[in-house]
């Protein structure tokens, strides 16, 4: 599927500042949007502690 050049550019910048999700370092977890704005995370709930995304649970 074709993604817009703007999204690809944002993705590239975002990956550069994004932390690996398996870290437990909370200080790295607050990541600004590429335009500097903080976006409310629709996936965040207070009940959800950190865990390893998409892990192979075998």
């Amino acid at each position: 599927m074709e993604l817009s050049k703007a999204l690809l550019g944002a993705l590239l910048l975002g990956i550069a500042v994004e932390t690996s999700s398996c870290t437990k370092d909370e200080s790295k977890n607050v990541t600004p949007a590429n335009n500097g704005e903080q976006v409310q995370n629709p996936a965040a709930t207070p009940e959800q502690p950190d865990n390893c995304p998409a892990c192979g649970l075998g």
Partner: protein, 372 residues
């Protein structure tokens, strides 16, 4: 005409995203699967990741894959209620094409600490599973599916798994994810051929296939035996690609084929290139799929009544708690076996007397790996 989309399991993980980026750039990725319940404790999510999710969602190619609901927990928990609320919320924010979860119950006293392990196939577990799937559908309003489990205690369980899945999803007119690496684990760990097992699954209800890599573990109690585990930490074995070629034409309602790998295994440039090569190989197999008739099932329930009372079973809960505690604290196989024989699981529907010793050893290893 029906299209099968080649996609990746894509989460907010720098290593996964870096591995996927060249494929995004080349417009090769046709769908993404997002584990909507597996984000870190972060209140804010980068705008660019939301845009990525919406880009696929707007084309009807975003699928949600839950990890932590614990479908077969005997006791209904506050965390499960919160999980459903969360699912409802993300389903409003993102247009998912469907929602899936894993088979099994999560070991561990804490909701997010553990790994999914199997359950006895009884009327009690069937009732609980159907109840939970109905509630998942009620929360998301999308087709609901379940993934086949990689781990089984014995060969009889492997052979009965497909039939039990079929009964579970019937009321929600659901579908299954046929995880071919999970199937590969079963074939290897119980020395059976693919023909003996694959037709025991409801293949007309496969809407999604997963492929991934995994690892081998040496058994300590059965010297020379290697156990295949679904750890998602390596490239896809050739045998799993062969399973994909074999299975793809047997699944008339297949819509997605997804490549999974954990970010922790994608740190190096070489591993990322291998990931991209695996994706392109998978995509080429998908494109060769022949004679794709239109989908015959929309996988939406015609009529579904959500029971006012949540199905629960206290005895099952106690057994799961006891089993988790033994697995998580056992000093080894002998200790676990002795404690199981003295537990409420002895001479019960769990049929612990039939469990393959090396799979009991593996269950201990899995539970202790994911215990926090």
């Amino acid at each position: 005409m029906r299209t099968i989309y080649s996609g990746v399991a894509c989460n907010l993980d720098a290593d996964i995203l870096q591995a996927c980026y060249p494929l995004f750039e080349a417009s090769k990725i046709e769908a993404i699967e997002w584990s909507f319940d597996a984000l870190y404790k972060r209140r804010n999510i980068p705008d660019w990741f939301l845009q990525l999710l919406h880009a696929f969602a707007n084309e009807g190619r975003l699928i949600g894959h839950g990890v932590f609901f614990s479908l077969f927990s005997g006791r209904w928990t506050y965390e499960q209620q919160a999980w459903l609320k969360h699912l409802s919320k993300v389903s409003s924010a993102f247009r998912f094409d469907h929602i899936t979860e894993h088979f099994g119950f999560m070991t561990g006293a804490d909701f997010h600490s553990g790994a999914p392990l199997s359950i006895p196939y009884t009327n009690t577990t069937l009732t609980i599973g159907k109840d939970r799937l109905a509630r998942i559908y009620d929360a998301c309003g999308k087709p609901v599916g379940l993934e086949n489990l990689a781990f089984s205690y014995d060969i009889d369980e492997v052979k009965r798994h497909g039939d039990f899945l079929s009964k579970l999803i019937e009321p929600v007119n659901g579908f299954i994810i046929l995880d071919l690496h999970n199937l590969y684990c079963q074939l290897q760990n119980f020395s059976v051929g693919v023909d003996e097992i694959i037709n025991l699954y409801p293949l007309e209800r496969v809407r999604e296939i997963h492929i991934s890599g995994g690892s081998w573990e040496d058994s300590i109690i059965d010297i020379g035996r290697k156990i295949r585990r679904d750890t998602h930490n390596d490239a896809v074995p050739q045998e799993v690609f062969a399973l994909l070629e074999y299975a793809i034409d047997k699944c008339p309602n297949l819509k997605y084929v997804i490549l999974e790998q954990v970010g922790g295994a994608l740190h190096t440039q070489q591993s990322r290139e291998d990931f991209a090569a695996d994706f392109l190989k998978m995509s080429a197999i998908v494109k060769q799929a022949k004679g794709l008739p239109p989908e015959t099932n929309d996988f939406l329930p015609k009529e579904l009544i959500i029971p006012a009372l949540v199905a629960e079973d206290e005895e099952l809960h106690q057994q799961q708690t006891e089993l988790s505690e033994i697995f998580e604290t056992a000093a080894g196989y002998d200790d676990a076996l002795m404690r199981l024989q003295q537990s409420s699981l002895a001479n019960s529907d769990w049929q612990i007397e039939n469990w393959a010793p090396y799979m009991l050893e593996t269950a201990i290893s899995i539970a202790q790996k994911w215990k926090k």
